[in-house]
Amino acid sequence: MAQQQGMDSALFERRLRPVYDNLEVGNNRKALQESEKLLRKHPTLLCARALKGLSLLRLGRYDESHGCLQAVAEEKPTDDSTLQVLSFCYREMEQLDKIVELYQHAVKQNPGNEELLAHLFISHVRVEDYKAQQAVALQLYKAQPKNAYYFWSVISVVFQGIRGPESALPEKRKIYLGLAQRMVDKHIKEGKLETEQEAFLYLHILKLQNKYHEAWEFLTGELCAKLYPGAPVSMKFELLKELGNWRELNELLQQLLDADRDRWDYYKEYIQSSFELLKLSSKGEEKGEKDSLARCQEFLQGIIESSERKKRGPYLARLELHQRMRADKLPAEQLIGDFDEMVIEYFNLFGDKSCCTHDIALFLPSISMKQRQALAGKLLLESGVSSTSLPQNKEQMQKHLCALQISRMCGSHMELPVDHLIAFYTALKLHYEHGRSSFGKKLLATEMGPSDAYALLAANVMYDLSRREHKSDHLFEALCLLQYVLRNSTSNFHVKLLSLKIYHLFGCQVGAQEMYEYLDIKQIQLDSMGYVHCQLLPLGGRFSGTRAVYDATLKFFTNSYKERLEYIALTYRFCTFSKMEEFMNFKERLTNSLQYVACSVEAQICDLVSCYGNVMQNLTAYAAMSIEPAEDRIAWHELSDNRDLDAIIRWDPLHQVNAAEERKESFDQEVEVLQVRSLMLRLFASFIDLYHGTGAKDVPAGTETATLELLRESWTGLFQRLRLMNYKPLPQTFLVNLLPTRLRLLLDLPYERFFDDLSQLVLDLQSGSGKLAEQCKRVGENVIVVMDVCVKTISECNDGNGTDGLWNRREQQQKVAASLEILSLYAFLLSVLNDKLQVSSKTKTKKRTADNKENGPQPISEKERGQMVHELMRQLKHKLEACDSAIRTWKAPVLPRDLSSFMSDMSLKPEVEATLIGDVSATFKDSHELMVTELRNLLKDKIRMAAK
């Protein structure tokens, strides 16, 4: 090694270049060759050996790679490039503690080497070992007295106090934070504080100890002004509030608001401080003066009157003051005026802005239902658009839209009779078309149409109608309308989201997929928005078609999982103390995303269901999935709900919407669904492992079935618990409500019994139990039940098609898909069992019969067992064929026919109308045909599997 280091490193670097280059472009085979070539000349070149290990790792040759890397690590390398390659490999393999060891050795050989120490520090960061971080940071500071290192040690002390293992003990927390403060104090005294992040950290440490007074002194002092001129003013608010200094806060905010009159964060604090001052004055202070609320009102009024350009700020603040006074039973009306009149004034001033609806909605919950509906009526009147007139300009149209949206939020639409609602829908449709042709002609491709919101509202109304009548035709018409809107304003994502929802609701996966692709959901959106599509795909009716969507999602997650720790390392590198905790929490949220975990499990199930090779190929594919049945890898209590449910616009009646409740309920159910799916996967894997165990695990004789038995117990236990929990299906009151989870489906279909009986079958086959024949019969009966679900569902679907082809479609497709999922997994298992028994009956039959003489009944011979499995396969093949012939008869959904009137009111050219309805109908037809083809292909594979 000494010889190697003595040689010209530039030369080596040049020789190593081709290996790096090939790795970079993913040409791993070539990289391996290049590294081997280099090693023939320089067999001791460590970096080349490490790169060989990396190439092997990338090629999936894990054992060789491991050996190679291990050998390099044992040489305790100290050169940067070798260390980099090794730590890269360990990061890939999630062996983060090995990186720590690696650099510990390197540092030992080069004490005081700044670069190595810095790497060692970051390796501790990756495993969140704050204590070790602190020690290394101090060594670094000794080696190189840079502020960054000093503060690395400070923050490491802070984290020991607030995040480390001892942070739960209040006295320990106090000690650590006290120490951290003293460390910074000392630095300040020596005049060594240099950056704003250091100043931030000091303030943070003071606040963590509730030392608000000292924090205030520092924040308003000279040093902070110099180092941290950009300190957010909200820090001052926070401290003044903690210090109870309401008067100063009140005055500060008045100054700020004078300069910046549209800042909600300022108004909110200002109003709160006014209420706090009122509390103080009632205790006897400030006699003789006006009370603080009157002064607040005066101040707001002053801003309103002195502003040249009307800004929403002071008006909204006045409404907020009104609302808060009423909540405290104070005479709001007397001081400020009539609430309705103020809202109307606001509406008249700002109703032409699309945000006006959100603004007014803020204050609706504070008034009674009766008052809400009366107010909504007044606003409609104010908009100047009646049932017989049309908006005269864009501004009036926006006002009309706002008034309509508010009236829906106030519940005004809910009580209308059906014929009124239909008339209302027609009016909305007309308004859309009028607005489009009058004000939306020169639209840029990137703009939304000015009247699009009419159509969005119309779709919601049509859902209400469909739901009331349990019929799909209204909603189908709404879908056509939305597709029409989308042609006119191609970038309106609200339209895409609602269409996507309706397609799913009707089980039309092709349409849904089209909308999903149109939305161009990518990167982190795959996590936060995956629920609109990815989450709805499993058991939607297709298997292979959904796999690509999972892949795209999983690719994002695996990449960010790999990088997650490097983001945190970045905050250390830049000494961004204000972001470290945030980054750590973000990492947790991302890695524990329910979407991530659920998607991985569904993708694995999907792969097992759709495997189509011979037994050996399938088993190889299975082994590559490396499912460990004995190990529950899901951190159930950490699962995170990252869905952005607010991305979908809604104006549903506020009194009937409980977004938080809906989020919680749906999340809880999705977690339960994941429980079932993940357990099913593990249980199934334990069946396979029993017959095709990897061999690596040395299981003591007699305990081979322990995992299976344990999982089986959990399986029945889980279902028992779920039935007791009695989850209600998610409410489907409004169009944007989340679709029901699969929980009910999983409980209603014979999943529980099927896999429970299958467990017994697998056990009996293993032991050759005398009850085997009986168990075969049970399983055979289960197969018939599952097949019946498939066949009956399809015939129900065909029978109902004449009346309504869409309303129950999704549910029916789910049932068919679920039954085929069960039978497909079963087919795979039988093929594996058959294979094993064939092999062993050839080799072991004689030996076994000779062994067992002494006790009890003789186990059934392997030959007989093989015959029984044969019989089961024969039966399965037969039933799969029955499923196939049912699917062959499955009719495409009959679509609502009477659509000719749909477009007649619109100024559409007949050919546009024809292509529009034609396109939507074709999408449904394509979707059905594609599903049938995919399912039949699946069945064909399984029939072949069962025929062997």
Binding site: E196, P229, G230, P232, S234, D262, R263, W264, D265, Y267, K268, K311, R312, G313, L316, K353, S354, C355, H358, D359, A361, L362, A445, T446, E447, M448, S491, F493, L519, K522, Q523, I524, Q525, D527, S528, M529, S560, E563, E566, Y567, L570, T571, R573, F574, T576, S578, K579, E582, F583, N585, F586, R589, N642, D644, D646, A647, I649
Partner: protein, 181 residues
Amino acid sequence: MTTLRPFTCDDLFKFNNVNFDPLTETYGLSFYTQYLAKWPEYFQLAESPSGQIMGYIMGKVEGHMDNWHGHVTALTVSPDYRRLGLAALLMSFLEDISEKKRAYFVDLFVRKSNQVAINMYKNLGYIIYRTILEYYSGDQDEDAYDMRKAMSRDVNKKSVIPYTQPVTMRELRRQMRHDHN
């Protein structure tokens, strides 16, 4: 009516009503995290009274000597909150920070075809400093305008004397490398 606050990692889960806009790019995580880690104060978000994200600005400060300047990397406002002066508010925030950091000027790149944005920046006091050829790659490459506004530290307004020759991407990259070293 706006709450201005620093953009946080959690906002990445909630910014869809802004990012579904066709002119707003959703970048890979490492892009956002790099900005958040390196220039946290340059990544600000505007929130509505109802808690919705109305828009955000993402920027940085870099350069040597009299090239020390603030840069706007992304500025976006949700379709529901346009024409309320939000972009101007976010820009003035970024200029404010750049003033505090003693930057000489603030600059940004904009598509030559994005007339709405160009006009807005002009109204905010930006001038077209130069043209960058084929800055935006895509089905059809597009030129960018490099727009600038001088900050108070640049007393003689040297930074905003327009450059008459268009600049190629190659030259731009060379300059940027020079800046970083």
